[in-house]
Amino acid sequence: MSAPLLAVRNLSVTYPGDDGDVRAVRNVSFTLGRERLGIVGESGSGKSTTGRAIMGLVGHPGRIEADELRLGDTDLARLSEHGFRKLRGRRIAMVLQDPKYSLDPVMPVGQQIAETHRSHLRSTKRDARRAALEMLEAVHIRDPERVYTMYPHQVSGGMGQRVMIAMMLIAGPEILIADEPTSALDVTVQTQVLSILDELVRSRGMGLLLISHNLHLVSSFCDRVLVMYAGQVLETCAAGKLSEATHPYTRGLLAALPRLGDRRTELPQLQRDPAWMVDLA
């Protein structure tokens, strides 16, 4: 494989707390190429914070430390806020969980997509509009002209999320971070949105970091999976082989999932081992 798009080595994120520092992310290392990499974990495992750290979105008083945090030839660890502003949207983009909260409620969705194009590519209004319409078509929206003028409250959840994807991909980023992109959607709509994401990420040769708590979804969608617990990566495995995971935490999570066609009177409950909390590195 060629040089990775994103290289992360020993990334830590620390928040000061009343009882000493809270280390939300501890020595996380991974690389992302032109592939779909999944991060799974429960709430509080540090998976979202990892994504936000890459985007430079860990605000004061949080601290980021890393031996290496590199996007192509850009050193993200040393990048200024101004540098990040130019980079976000242009080279790394992020799709969040709920389009209801991540779209501007008082601006038509088409304009929001065009705005990204204008600010990053310094295009004219007309070019931006044309690009936005093309992008809406690329995310399989049937009547782009009509949807362009709609406000976020007028579109459904699935359509809103497709608008978000259009907005994130219009400036042609190298990496897309999707943080629970389909958790707020119905199962039937989930698949549509995922397949659009899949199609665009493949055809544009992008790297995708999919953050989710849903083991099924990640193992069926991604190429590789990182399993996070208490801020650390406990295990990395090929996504299709998640069922053969060896770490007791991953095995415990899989066992605790109810399965269709396998009725058990008791679901095995996860026994948390204090050893999982100990620093691995």
Binding site: S43, T191, P258, G261
Partner: protein
């Protein structure tokens, strides 16, 4: 135990009127667990709310424990059906302690032995005495859902209505709550009516499953038949397919 006969529920009037549930007939025998699945807006939560007595304008007949219930319910009828909601962050009063939350239904229904009931309810859902004087924000998501279950059970209902009881919870916590619900059901002979979008969760707890889409109950089947793919309606097949995870080959662009 629960019988709905030709129940129709609509919202709004004039051109904006919608029919949320259309001519629904469903029976849940005593001690059984029935689950409803379907996409959002399919009317499954509306059915639950109608059984709970939270919707007063339903047409058709609702019968609970052999008694036809009217628009206005008696205290005894209200006591018989209790509900647990999806979001334990939203369904518990933020300024009341667990003790106050559990004490209120006891006062409303003029039950005796309030103190003993609260202690017992906490023990039954696996919470300790130390949780009794905490506020909801001092509890984890799973603990909060346990409080919501305790609040429902403190009135000793015969019917428990569950509206997505685990979808706001992590997988490991979900397993704990599902085990708790299964045990309570066994111990108390509860009748359950549960709503979820997660087929596996429904099939774990319920013997029978109803599939709803656009206000219609399109199929009623068993968990076993569902697992073996013995389903008739196209929408149920679709649900089963999506439940299996993301499949590149099955997606038509």
């Amino acid at each position: 135990m629960i019988a709905l006969d030709d129940v129709t529920i609509g919202y709004g009037t004039g051109p904006r009127a919608v029919v949320a549930v259309r001519n629904l007939t469903l029976a849940v025998p005593e001690g059984q667990a029935v689950g409803l699945v379907g996409e959002s807006g399919s009317g499954k939560s509306t059915v639950l709310r109608a059984v709970a007595g939270l919707i007063s304008h339903a047409t058709g007949e609702i019968t609970l424990a052999g008694q036809r219930v009217d628009r206005r319910r008696t205290t005894a009828q209200r006591k018989m059906t209790q509900m647990v909601f999806q979001d334990p962050y939203g369904s518990l009063h933020p300024n009341q302690t667990v003790d106050q939350i559990l004490g209120l239904p006891v006062v409303i229904h003029r039950l005796d032995r309030g103190e003993a009931r609260i202690v017992q309810a906490l023990a039954e859902v696996g919470l300790g005495r130390e949780h009794r004087y905490r506020f909801p924000h001092q509890l984890s998501g799973g603990q909060r859902q346990r409080v919501a279950i305790a609040r429902a059970l403190i009135l000793e209902p015969r019917i428990l209505l569950l509206d997505e009881p685990t979808s706001a919870l992590d997988v490991s916590v979900q397993a704990e709550i599902l085990n708790l619900l299964a045990r309570l059901r066994r111990d108390r002979g509860l009748t359950l009516l549960m709503v979820s979008h997660d087929l596996a969760v429904i099939a774990h707890l319920c013997e029978r499953i109803g599939v709803m889409t656009r206000g219609l109950l399109v199929e009623t089947t068993t968990a076993t038949a569902m697992a073996n793919n013995h389903v008739t309606h196209e929408y149920t097949r679709e649900l089963l397919r999506f439940n299996a995870g993301f499949d590149r080959s099955s997606v038509a662009p």
